[in-house]
Structure formats: structure tokens, C-alpha cells
Amino acid sequence: MGICLCNKRNGLRFHNKDIRQSMIRNETTLQQAKFIAEYAAHLMGCGIHTSRVIRNTKRIGEALGFDVKISVFQKSIILTILDNESQHTFSEVIEIPALPISFKHNSELSALSWEAVDSHLNFEQINEKYTQIISAPRMNALLLLLLVGLANASFCRLFKGDWLSMLIVFIATIAGFFVRTQLQKRHINHYIIFIVSAFVASLFSSAALFFNTTSGIALATSVLYLIPGVPLINGVIDIVEGHTLTGITRLANALLLIVCLAIGLSFTLILFKGSLI
């Protein structure tokens, strides 16, 4: 009788220990699951097409010993994460943050997911590399301003504008892009940012109307630095690959931005309508 009780007690103690261990394990697993969700949301937020986001997330999940099921919507991502060892599942819903587009994050985070699988990194290493990648500084603002100005000026050249038009477009682009970055720092609604910076750029380039130059081309190209090329192309990629929902969302967003660009440009056109015809 006594022996039997003792055994029971022992069994109970073991049982408690098991529960505690599995709770600790569950806690770390939950942490890892949250990390996977954040990884997916970050990829989606910084402008990567949907199929790559899904592939990368599944891969990094695999490296941590999870089976990840994921469905991506325009504003949020739903993940169900199955721990292969304990067969527990975790559900995560995470909102997609609105981040500036970054190809650097795209390539480095994709590389991280491969490295995690191929070099068998543990969770701490992956997390450390992830923080390192997303906190790396962006390009110098002044250099960026110069590059964008040069780019738009040479764009003007591609449309057969002359040298004077190129100079005017260069100045107009720098003015417009400067206004855009300043407004973005103040977190103003991005539709308004697009209208204002398109108006500023086209207003500056309307100076071309007073010279004997290719003024129509100067006006047309001065706002083109605002064209949201990345969501346009990502949208088409998504639709072609079958992620129609996110694809159409991207295209709709890009279209709205283009409409805003056109509104900003049309203010200038209406102001100077007389000298354009």
C-alpha cells in the first residue's frame, strides 16, 4: 500500500516537472512564432511580392523546426505555426506595417532565410542577424537627392528633351523630392504628399515655358520620379502568380498615387494652360 502511494507521488512529481518543462518550451516557441510573424509582416511591408514572402517565411520556419501555414491579405497576415516536435500549433495575426520600400531588406532577409536553413543557425543567431539587417542605415539623403535629380534629368533626355530642359528638370526634381522627404518626415497623409510634391516639381519646371525649349517634355518628365514603379510591377507579378487579392490591392494603391500625381500636375497645367497650346 505504502509503496504504491510512494510510486504515485513520484509519478505526480515527474508529471509536474514535465508540465513545467513543456510550459517553458511553449514560451520560447511562442516567442519564435511571434518572430516568424514579424519577419513575414516586415517583408510584406517593405515591398516584396507575395509569393516570395510566403516562400521565405516557410523557409525560416523550417529552419526553426516549424511547419508554417500562411495567408496574406492587404493589411494583415494570418499564420498558423505547427511545432514539429511537440505538435502544438500557434496562431498569429499580425498587421502589416507601412514601411518605405527597401530592396536591401528584400535581398538580405531572403539570404538570411537560406542561411538559417543551410548553416543551421539557432533562434538567437537568426534574431540577432534580423535586427542587424533591419536597423542598417539607408542611403545618405543628400546623395539620394542628387541621384534622383540626375535620373530625372536623363529621363528627360530619353524623351528627346534638350540640355536646357534637362537642367530645368534637374532643379525641379530636386525641389519636388526635397518637399516630399520633408513632408514624409512629418508623417502627413501620403496622398497629400504626392499631390503637393507633384505640384511643386511641375511648378518649377514650368519655368521652361519662358524659354525657347522643349517645355512640354520638361513638364511631363518633372513629375515622373513619383511614379510608384515598384508596387505597379509587384502588383502584376502577384496577379500572374495567382495572389490576385494582394496584386489588385497593390495596383489599386499605385493607381491612387498616380491619380494624386496627376492632380498635382493638373494644377500647374491649368495655371499655364494658355502658354501650353
Binding site: I101, S107, A111, W114, D118, T221, L224, V236, L269
Partner: protein, 164 residues
């Protein structure tokens, strides 16, 4: 002279690709290939349109295809996904002038509602320019993405650096 025309076209396209790409913050190591792809793509379209009388839609599609294959080849060398290379390279080919003419025609249409001849002219201008803009952007994206479908497995593992 033709040679210099093509060279200049490629040169300015390269600057445009670098500048517009820089807005989207690409890795430093990818800039040289973005410039190269942008130059080759735009120069190719320039040749097709000016010396072979190909229309803008087909010429854009062919150039985008070349950029797509190029990004697949070069992306493997510097461990970059294809999109990182080909989206900036495609940006100089976006038909900005036609997009501008679409907006311009829309405004002029609304301002000339009472004059039937001008109204019809701007209506026609709006639709033809809008059609070109839409078709070219769509074909650019399709053309550059097509190689990714053909070489699926390779295209998906370009960033795989430590494979043993």
C-alpha cells in the same frame, strides 16, 4: 553616328535606373548591375523602335525579357533576388510621356466640352495614350517575370550563399 546614339541612350538610361532605383534602397553591390541592365534594356528598345520599326509594346516586351534573363544571370553572382535587379532597370522604360499625355488630354477634354471637334480630338488622345501606357507597363512586368517562371527553382534560390 548610329553607334553613338545607341551608346548615349544606354548611358542616360543607366543614370535613370540608378537614380530611380536609389529611392527604393537597393544593396550597394547591386548598383553596377542595375545600371548595366537598365542601359542594355533601354538601348535594345531604342534600336528596335528606331532601326527595325517595331512598335513600342513589342519592343518593350522584348527588352523586358532581356532584362529578366539578365537579372537571373547576374543575380546569382551577387546573391540578389531577380526583382531587386529588374525593377529599377525597368523604371526608365515606363512610358512617362504617354502617361503625361493621358492626363493632359483629360484636362483639355474637360476644358473644351462645348467644342465638338476639340472634344473628339482630346477624347481620342486620351484613349490612345492611356492604352499605350497601360499595355506597355503590363508587358514590361510580364516580360521581366517570365524568366522566373521558366527557371523557377533557380530563380527562387539566388540568395542561397552557404549551400554545401
Amino acid at each position: 553616328m548610329i553607334f553613338f546614339d545607341i551608346l548615349f541612350d544606354g548611358f542616360f538610361a543607366a543614370i535613370a535606373a540608378i537614380g530611380f532605383g536609389a529611392i527604393s534602397d537597393p544593396p550597394i553591390r547591386s548598383f553596377k548591375f542595375i545600371a548595366l541592365l537598365g542601359a542594355v534594356g533601354h538601348a535594345c528598345r531604342f534600336c528596335l523602335m528606331n532601326y527595325f520599326q517595331v512598335d513600342i509594346a513589342v519592343a518593350s516586351f522584348v527588352s523586358a525579357l532581356i532584362i529578366g534573363f539578365g537579372s537571373l544571370w547576374l543575380g546569382g553572382k551577387i546573391y540578389c533576388p531577380t526583382t531587386v535587379l529588374y525593377i529599377p532597370a525597368l523604371l526608365p522604360m515606363i512610358p512617362g510621356k504617354f502617361a503625361y499625355n493621358t492626363v493632359f488630354a483629360q484636362i483639355m477634354f474637360l476644358q473644351n466640352m462645348d467644342q465638338p471637334i476639340l472634344k473628339a480630338k482630346y477624347m481620342e488622345m486620351f484613349f490612345s495614350n492611356g492604352m499605350i501606357t497601360f499595355t506597355v507597363i503590363f508587358l514590361l512586368a510580364i516580360g521581366a517575370t517570365l524568366p522566373m517562371f521558366i527557371f523557377g527553382k533557380k530563380a527562387y534560390s539566388l540568395t542561397r550563399r552557404f549551400f554545401k
